[in-house]
Amino acid sequence: MVKSNQKEFRKRDFFYLVPLWLLSLIVPDADDLYSYRSKEFKRRELYYLGALLLLPLIWPDPHLHHLMVLAGIYAILALGLSLFLGYAGQISLGHAAFFGIGTYTTAILTTRYAFPPFLAFWASAFVAAIVAYLIGRPILKLKGYFLALATLGFGEIFLVIVSESQSLTGGVIGIFGIPWFSIGGFSFDTYLKQYYLTWGVLLGLFLFSKNLVRSKLGRALLAVASGEDAAASIGINVAQVKIGVFVTSAAFAGFAGSLFACIMSTANPEAFGLNLSVLIVMMVILGGMGNLYGPVFGSVLLTYLMDILSRYQEWSLPIYGVILILLLIFFPDGIGTRLGIRLIYLIGYWAKKKKRDEGKP
């Protein structure tokens, strides 16, 4: 009786541990990879980069390429949000609106005024940043639940304005026929080219954020997140730091929105609702707050999850809600964070449990 019990335990141990161990090899760990001291690229980061470069070549599946393009766009969004949410500790549920502003700026400029997409790309980020500055001045003095609600309200107002001002944005129907992204006559018209475009932009923004968080502003962000009064008392202008990071993250969202417009070639208000904002925040949470690899990993994970769920049609949203809650309950600090250490705890727990069971008469 006892023996069979033990055997069962061993089997189950194996069942849980192998996937967890594999996951801990792939998933970037915030504490391990990004510390204050690491200035240069580590070898592991070069592996990630190499894998990203080679992935579409060794796996020539257009669907996968398209998913990775989407994941890249979401990763840009989540990267921007992680500066605001993960580093500065502020909550925003309105980031889909900045994404939408980016998309609509590109859509209107390229289809109505025949701007080249490259110029529209910068204009989108600029417009999103200006709107963020105007919105951020009043609402960033709020905290917690009320900041979340105010940003959410901003997102809803954006949706209403977009669907009602039909002469400018095409209303509920949206704008069609946005040209491909192109630089100097080179058009990004296949999934493979778009993949390299998106992840190239992401890489540039990633390096920018990596330097940003190690700058004076980055340190100030961490100080603001851990305590605003303390940060103010050591001479940090809290309001200015908050508005700075809000504008930066909105500009990231503007870049992402512009790419989204050029790749999807349509702009439609349905894509920028509360669900997208929730999705982006989830990407940041699941990746692990306060590190830069997290949002990228989280966006890839959730994009794939959404793709798998979309096969179940009407079941997809209920399952999504349940998975969301379960992930929040079991991985509130992010999936990758201290996975190795947690694995050791788990093994220790099982060993103790086994000992306890053996000690019983």
Partner: protein, 296 residues
């Protein structure tokens, strides 16, 4: 047509929808008074109240009062389950995690309801007759009077519950000073559990009252919940009287705004009010017991 002609009519419809906002706001306030949590799935209780009553009335041919009662019980059970399965495991989590978890619950509830009961908008027959009353040239539906009366009644019940019973005092104690309440032997988890039940019940009543006037569909809960929250902030966060005042104020302003701007912008009005109130007077009209203690 004179500009002032539609104003009394808009006022009366604003008061009706304001009563519903007030009820949703009361649901938020009930939970906050017990635990400082904000439940973003509050609007789904309203939606579920209407949709389940419709399902019982049309699908199972139960009598109206019975189906309303069963729907209320079911929604209260859902509120209890929400607390047990989502809020209780996350009782030590940060504000952000709680917001996301309740939003996840809201996605789950609305999409499940769409799957089980269909995605078409639903409406119920009015409680007593469809003959509109004419008072001073203003058309008033009998259902509006039902809505106002029930809101008034619920307000009295809630006032008695929170100010005249030991339970209400215990709930308030566990919110304002959790450690002190623990030392006095008040179970904080039990208080939050009961508050979720009461709040879900209020939401369900609001849903049953509103469905005969406005259509309720599986995705209408989120917006109603947000507007109820705006009403609670507008009146004074954490106060029952504030929730009622804010609800009526929001309903009337939103309704009157239709005389001046295109009706498509109606939803933006509420959120614009939210941004203004949060900027100029975050305490709300009546002031708030929770906000003075924090720095803004």
């Amino acid at each position: 047509m004179n500009f002032w002609t539609p104003i009394p009519q808009l006022l009366s419809s604003g008061i009706t929808i304001g009563a519903i906002y007030a009820l949703v706001a009361l649901g938020f306030v009930t939970i906050t008074r017990a635990s400082q949590i904000i439940n973003f799935a509050q609007g789904e209780f309203v939606m579920l109240g209407g949709v389940i009553t419709f399902f019982l009335l049309k699908g199972s041919n139960l009598p109206y009062p019975l189906s309303a009662l069963i729907a209320m019980t079911v929604v209260v059970m859902i509120g209890f389950l929400l607390q047990l399965l989502v809020i209780y495991p996350l009782r030590k989590a940060s504000v952000l995690i709680l917001i996301m978890a309740t939003l996840g619950a809201s996605i789950f509830l609305s999409s499940t309801s769409g799957m089980l009961f269909g995605t078409l908008p639903k409406t119920l027959p009015p409680f007593s007759g469809e003959e509109p009353l004419q008072i001073w040239g203003v058309t008033i539906l009998p259902q509006s009077i039902w809505v106002l009366g029930t809101t008034f009644l619920l307000l009295i019940v809630l006032y008695l519950l929170s100010h005249r019973t030991l339970l209400g005092k215990a709930m308030e104690a566990s919110s304002t000073d959790p450690l002190g309440a623990d030392l006095l032997g008040i179970s904080r988890n039990l208080m939050v559990f009961l508050a979720f039940g009461v709040s879900a019940g209020i939401g369900a009543i609001a849903g049953i009252l509103i469905t005969p006037i406005f259509f309720t569909s599986y995705n209408s809960g989120t917006l109603l919940g947000l507007k109820g929250f705006i009403a609670a902030v507008l009146g004074g966060w954490g106060k029952n009287s504030g929730a009622i005042l804010g609800g009526f104020a929001l309903g009337i302003v939103e309704s009157l705004s239709m005389a001046f701007i295109p009706s498509g912008y109606k939803d933006a009005v509420a959120f614009a009010i939210l941004l203004l109130i949060l900027y100029f007077r975050p305490k709300g009209i009546l002031g708030s017991p929770f906000i003075d203690s924090r720095r803004w």
